[in-house]
């Protein structure tokens, strides 16, 4: 299924290349068009410059079901600022001239569906987007209708699993994935701040022991060095979203280095 993606280094997707590196990966999510409409490109450049490994560019949606209040508020503001799929693609059209970091677009299905799934994927390939995360596109619908399109344009689609996901379903998701599995740390929307207890640890260990084909990256509830370190004991990497959006809200876009350093050191 993914032979074209793993054939050799030249054609290998940047995500797969990054996953092969012998280190724990830090991935950062931010909402495109927030705090200001034209912050998108400079945020990406700053994150790469400061040693982040992978970036999730949030395409804002009016009704983000899986998100807590921080990302909801940033999405609402981004839409007010005028962010759309078209605007985002225009902002990113030359992005590969300045960065080499793996880029993933994370967005809900309806805006992508309205753009046209194939047109969206084609545009992603032209720009140099490496993958997509679409939380409300079900695995079976993807498999039946869209997998061939994603593969045609060299895109990795990333699926979520949660502590409630059965082993059988995790195996199924693993069989359809060709990059990494997004391991949601707890049953929650984004922005949980509680740190990890025994329940999470057991869940991380359970998944680790399944010896899946795809590496796992933990998301939801990672906010600082402590939670990043905890999560990456069990996984290939971790994703920070709400905590970064909060940082940008409070401190603006000029102190991204401060945030990244506080997580990595």
């Amino acid at each position: 299924m993914d032979s074209c993606l793993r054939r050799n280094d030249k054609t290998m997707n940047r995500i797969n290349k990054k996953l092969k590196e012998d280190k724990k990966l830090l991935s950062i999510y931010f909402t495109a068009g927030y705090p200001s409409i034209n912050d998108t490109v400079s945020i990406i450049q700053d994150l790469e410059k400061n040693g982040v490994d992978m970036i999730e560019i949030g395409l804002p949606f009016s009704d983000p079901l899986a998100d807590g209040s921080t990302i909801q508020a940033s999405s609402t503001q981004a839409l007010k600022n005028g962010m759309t799929s078209e605007v985002l693609f225009n902002q990113l059209k030359d992005i590969r001239q300045s960065v080499n970091i793996p880029l993933i677009i994370m967005g809900y299905f309806n805006p992508i569906y309205q753009y046209g799934v194939e047109a969206f994927c084609k545009k992603c390939q032209e720009i140099g987007i490496d993958g997509l995360i679409i939380p409300d596109l079900p695995v079976d619908v993807y498999h039946e209708k869209y997998q061939t399109i994603f593969e045609k344009y060299g895109l990795i689609n990333v699926f979520l699993i949660t502590p409630q996901t059965s082993d059988e379903r995790i195996r199924y998701i693993d069989s359809i994935s060709n990059g990494f599995i997004y391991m949601v740390s707890s049953a929650s929307t984004t922005g949980a701040q509680s740190g990890f207890g025994e329940e999470q640890t057991q869940y991380f260990e359970r998944i680790g022991n399944m010896n899946l084909n795809n590496p796992q990256i933990v998301g939801f509830g990672i906010s600082n060095n402590q939670t990043f370190t905890q999560a990456t004991q069990y996984a290939k990497g971790a994703i920070i979203g709400s905590a970064f959006v909060k940082h940008v809200t409070n401190e603006g876009v000029n102190s991204i280095d401060k945030f990244v350093k506080s997580v990595l050191n």
Binding site: P64, E86, D136, L160, T165, S166, A187
Partner: protein, 398 residues
């Protein structure tokens, strides 16, 4: 009549034609899957049926009358029957569904109930059955709707429910629904989400429709008593998300001699920018877990509808209705605020019934469409107008 009689019920994958499905984040998959695997089995249990029917009879007050509206019929020179869902306990059809779902929740071992509400009718119906069963009840309601619908907020509180304001987005029904879904994501094990309309991920549209189908089941035998035949020439219902409509149509969907009319809220006019006429203004897309027709920008952002009626003020329709629209099985009509309000007042004057503004939309079609003198037209009077008194007072300067 040569209508192409395809299947209007849900298929085994959860679709009505191309609409429906379960477009949900993975966090919700176990909850929805548990329901999907169990709902038909539970509903088929004789014990469940017995308890459901008993409560509908003794607690809700069913069967609701099928009333021949003589003076309305004379005025419009046709035979108008009103299905009196307004006479149900709590004042609307909503309770048919909440009774069914609370019994379902109990069978699934759930101790905590969540719901969304717009005008508060579904919230009251949910708080009512939670009190009846002694279960914890949390109702999400848009901050703006809480301010507009104070009496229903008070009712819910008296019934022991916690009302949580939805502060995100436009702070109305669609945001209350988002908040309820987020609550479910955060409480996946002990909580059942009672969706109030024929929307949401499969199996919700089908389950809600089946609980509401008691409406058309009764119409059949009641009409037989009145007219000597089970099938009317027309069934008419208003549509927001579409639960009363789904129940009113259900047993007639495959009766090709029965015409189906769906009445949407045109608000200030379909082209005014202040409307909730989804069949005209909507496009295919994903809302609240299903593929259906919804009002949205060209970029796929869900837009705010408008109607004077809070119950019709929703930017989508249930997937079954999207299918009925696309296949032209149902005729969709749009009624403005003004025409609905006038039709509501007319029912007061001619029949001594104060209807909910939602139901007034369905009654307004007689001013727009001519029926034959011997046509039998059954209109779902989905709710009573008590909750709307303030609106009526303001509108008519009473």
């Amino acid at each position: 009549m040569t209508k192409n009689m395809e299947n209007y019920n849900v298929n085994e994958k959860g679709y009505y034609g191309e609409f429906g499905g379960a477009y949900i984040p993975e966090m919700l998959y176990p909850n929805v899957e548990e329901l999907r695997q169990n709902y038909l089995k539970v509903m088929a249990e004789p014990e469940f049926q017995k308890e459901f029917n008993q409560l509908l009879k003794d607690y809700v007050g069913r069967p609701s009358p099928l009333y021949f509206a003589k003076r309305l019929s004379e005025k419009y020179n046709t035979k108008v029957y009103l299905k009196r869902e307004d006479l149900n306990h709590t004042g609307a059809h909503k309770i048919n569904n909440t009774i069914g779902q609370i019994l379902m929740a109990k069978r699934l071992g759930k101790r905590r109930i969540i719901a969304e509400t717009g005008a508060g009718q579904h919230g009251v119906a949910t708080a009512t059955v939670c009190a009846l069963m002694g279960l914890e009840c949390i109702v999400y309601m848009g901050e703006i709707d809480i301010a507009r619908q104070a009496p229903n907020v008070a009712r819910m509180k008296m019934l022991g429910a916690t009302v949580i304001p939805a502060l995100s987005g436009s702070r109305t029904l669609k945001d209350a629904t988002n908040e309820a879904i987020r609550d479910w994501i955060n409480n996946p094990v002990n909580t059942h989400y009672i969706i109030g309309s024929a929307i949401g991920p499969h199996p919700y549209p089908d389950m809600v429709t089946k609980f509401q189908s008691v409406i058309s089941e009764e119409i059949k035998w009641q009409l037989k008593e009145h007219e000597g035949r089970e099938n009317p020439d027309y069934v008419v219902a208003c549509i927001g998300g579409g639960s009363n409509a789904a129940g009113t149509y259900y047993h007639f969907l495959h009766e090709k001699d029965v015409n189906i009319i769906a009445v949407e809220a045109a608000g200030l006019g379909v082209d005014s920018g202040e409307s909730a006429a989804t069949s005209v203004l909507g496009k295919e897309g994903i809302i609240h877990g299903c593929k259906t027709l919804l009002m949205q920008t060209s970029d796929g952002q869900i837009t705010e509808p408008y109607s004077i009626s809070a119950g019709l003020d929703y930017p989508g329709v249930g997937p079954m209705h999207a299918h009925l629209c696309k296949t032209e099985r149902a005729e969709f009509m749009a009624i403005t605020d003004d025409d609905a309000m006038k039709a509501g007042l007319k029912l007061c004057e001619l029949e001594g019934i104060i209807p909910a503004i939602e139901s007034s939309h369905a009654l307004a079609i007689f001013e727009q469409k001519t029926f034959k003198p011997d046509d039998v037209v059954v209109v779902s009077l989905s709710g009573r107008g008590d909750k709307d008194l303030e609106n009526y007072i303001e509108y008519f300067k009473i």
